[in-house]
Structure formats: structure tokens, C-alpha cells
Amino acid sequence: MGFAVAPSTESSSLLTSSSTDDSLENAGKLPFLRTLLGDGGFKSLTFVAALIAGAVPFFVVALISRDAWPAIAKFGLPFLWEQDWNIDESIYGALPYLFGSLVSAFIALVLALPIGVAIAIVTSERVLPPWVQIPIAFLVELIAAIPSVIIGLWGVFVFTPAINPFQEFLYARFGWLPIFNTQPFGSSMLVAGIILAIMILPTIAAISREAFLAISADLRNGAFALGATQWETIIFVTMPAAISGILGGATLGLGRALGETMAVTMVIGNVAGIDFSLLSPGSTIPSILANQFSEALDPLHIGALMYLALVLFLITLGVNSLAIFMIRFLSRNA
């Protein structure tokens, strides 16, 4: 009986307290933070934080564009396909750097994609026991944790001397091919491409692995149940289902390769010019930015560098957006 009565008294006291001035007086006694940040305050705080984060790319573009303006006004779009870069005569063209960036990133992608997908298959499909798969996946992801300057140092002092005999071999044996027709001397576009391939390998492997792991066991079993072997299943059933994730990972890797600065600057040779031989040194947009920024004084020179930065930013923005789109949206439909 008593229990049945209690709720009614409680609800009546609730009614009276909210309808009298008592509640307002009580509000004054609330802890300070609570009055300051009710739910509404907290919401606006997170909203402002999100807005700031979202505004950062626009802010960066605005600043770069402002500093690039002298060069944009003077050279316009032809800047993209002009070859000369002469500080004394104040003539600037982006093509050699654009070319170097695209070629080195492309070499990296060609080398890293098959190896990355192979790593993804070995670490996700039922090829090896889990106690082998998990450490391999972990170690490959650890490559991404190596600071790029360390990879650059390793590239300069260990990798370049080690790979040079191979470059000599390519020149001696396949020198008749336009891509191998210059005398190698160590640093080259090829070396930069290989170093970049090592750096983007974890990105491609990890994202492709996620794509493989996201495929339901039933899909694989469906192929096994038809009498398919493991390789037939992986190549004709699992890979097509994971393709958007694999391509998304490759695109993200490409974006990373395009923007990579330190390690590339250390091994590419930093020679401006367009040479189709992969054994010749070259330069990329990030490498010239890193090399010339500290000594640029003339506003037009700074402007040209900023213009290059803007071009690189737009390219990587496009490539990364494409990658995010592929990973998020295409794989959902598969």
C-alpha cells in the first residue's frame, strides 16, 4: 500500500517545484561549469571546434594563394608547362617538377601495388596460420611509423650504393630503351620511386587488407562450394569484391607518394630538367620547395614556389578525395 502511494506524492512535489519560483532559485546554486555549459553550451563548443577543423583547408588555400599571387598574375596557367626555372632572370616554369613528382609517384605505385595486394592476401585470406599473418601485417604497418628522414638517410647511405650495380646493369643491358639510356651515378628517379614504394606499401597493404577482411566468409565459401581452388577463389571471387578498396588504397598511396618530401629530396638528386631516363636524377615539387624556400627572398620567387605548392595541394586534394570516395562509397555497394 505504502509503495503505491509514494509515486503519487513524488509526482505532485515535482509538479509544484517546477511551477513555483523554487526551481529558479535552485538554478542559481548549480555548479558554475554546469550553468556555463549546459547541453546547449556543449553543443555549440563542439560545433565551433568542428567548424575550425573544417575551415583549415580553406584557410591554407587562401594563404598559399595570397603569397602565390605575384607568380599567378605574371605567369598564369602557362606556368604549368613552362620548363625554365631561372632565379636570376626571374623566369619560372613548373613542368620539370610536375614531371618529376608524377613519374616518381607512378614508379612507386607500379612497384608497391602488386606487393601491397600480395601482402593483403597473405595476411587476410586463409593461406597462412594466424600466428604468421598477424605479425606480418603488424610489421608492414610499422613501416609507416618510420620517420621519413630516417628512410631518406637509409636511402642515401645504404640503399643507393646497394642498388647502383643494378642501375649500372640496366644501363649496360637495356640502355637502348629510352627509360634506361643515361649513365647512372647513384641518385635517380628510379631510386626515389623505389624509396617511395617502400613508404606507400603500408598504406596500400593495410587498406587492401581491410577490404579483404570485410568480405563475408560466405562469399569465399560459395566459391569453395563450387569446387574452386583457393587461388581461383582469391583471384576471381574475392579480389573483384574487394577491388574498390584495393584501388582506393592505391589512390591513397599515390597521394602520399606525390606529397612525400624528405626522403625523396635526399635520394632524387635534385636536378631540374625533364629526362625520360629513370636512371637520371630529377626533382619533385616537394623537393624544390624544401631546397629553395630558405633562400627565396624575391616575392616573385616566393610566389612561384607558392604557386607550385598550390598546384601540388590541388593534385593531392583531388587524389585523396577520389581515394576516400572509392573506399567509403564504392565498397559499400559491392
Partner: protein, 281 residues
Amino acid sequence: MLPSPHSSSSSSEEKLATMEPQSPSTLPVFHIENVSCFYGRHKALEGVYMDIYEGKVTAIIGPSGCGKSTFLKILNRIGEMESNVRVDGKVQLLGKNIFARDINLNLLRRQVGMIFQHPNPFAMSIYDNVAYGIRTFHRLSRPALDEAVESALRSAALWDEVKDSLHQSGLALSGGQQQRLCIARALAVKPKVLLMDEPCSALDPIATLKIEELIQGLKQQLTIVIVTHNMQQAARVSEYTAFFSTDERRIGQLVEFDLTQKIFTEAEQPSTRDYVAGRFG
């Protein structure tokens, strides 16, 4: 109350002995003797004896976790693809031990097709889905392949719905159509047995009805073993029914195996009668 494990397993042995004379006209396709299955150290299924007869539909019913899917996946040895699964005992397919060392798993699975709980068409066209299994074993001319694909789609009662869109993605079909596409894909390689693991549990009632009609038509060509949690479905489509349950050690057991009619009207085990009457758990 559940019967004690000893009484239940020994009674299913007796059951089997009494079963065989009842159906002299049909040969067992699968002869299963004392099969147990382990996940790591956990025993999921214990001491199953059963014969599966040619040209019949055998339904496997029982509460969840009783090992019905586990049992089904032993028959084409697909369960052991998962790590730490171990199977003991003897399973003969048409007199041949499927655990023999010289058995070719790809050929075994070609003879024993499987339909899964969720429709799992490959990320390719309708045509390629059906042609996939054929292509892995035979190099057919284009007209011969076209004909094989059409005949498989007709057997799965899907041809009329997809004949104008054979080159569209199989993933664009409705759930029920996808499941029939998977059936067509399995039929295309001409299996002797078709294992169905709750094939309708992800489908609506109309799509379910179509699959059930299909099963009735298919038993002219092959033997079907169907796991289902739907007792009405088991009663509608099958000639034989096996009732699996767990004992107090949570190990799956075959409690009773008999003609479907008998299981649903005059089952011998009290637990079977309770389950069939919906008084279980």
C-alpha cells in the same frame, strides 16, 4: 527434461538400425558413422549416425547451437576451412570415404553443392555467376556454355526473370532472386547432393515459397539436405527429418532421425515431441 546423453545417442543408433529396412528401394548417398566435431577443445557435435537417401529431401531441425550447420558443413568438408575445426568419424559419399587422404576436395565439393544462409552471389554478372563453376573445370564453346547457363537458370526457376538482363550484376537482383541465382550457380556444376544451410532465413515469405517449390522440383534430379529453423518448412519440403539438440554439457547430438511424417506425428523421443510441438526451452 532432456533425455540423458547416453540414452539419446544409443537410441539414435537403434533408430538407424530400424530405419534401414524401411527404405530398401533407395541407396544411401551419405553414410555417416559416429561423427564428432570439435572447435578447438570444445566438442560441438558428438556421435552422429545417419544415412541420407538418394533423391530425397532430408531436413535437419533443432534449436540454435545444436550443431545442425556444423553437421551440414562436414558433408562437403567446408567447415574445416575455418581454423581449429576438427572432425572425427566416418563419412562415406557413395561408398567413398570423404576423409581419405587421396580425396580431391575440389571434386568432392563439385559433387556436393551448397547454398548458404545469406545469398552470396559473386561481384560479377548473372551469366558469369552461373558460368563460374563450369569454367573452373571445363572449357566449353560459347554456345555450349550459353546452353548450360540457361538450363541451370531454368532449373532454378529464374530464367524467365533474368533472360533479358544476363549481363547485369548479380548483386542488383532482389534477395530471393539472388538466392535462386546461387542455386542456379550450384546446379550448373551438376552436383549429386545439394546442401542448404537455412536458405530462406534471410528471405520474405513469398520468396521462401518459391524456394520451397523449387526444392520439390529439384529432388527429381538430386538429393537435398536442408537445415532449417522453420519446422513448418521441414514438414512441407522433406521426406526425412533429423532432430538435433544439445545435452546438458552443451554438446550437439542427433536425437532422432526418421520419416518426416513420423517425427511430426509420433516421434519416439519426448524431447523431439516437445520441440515439434513448440514446447521447447
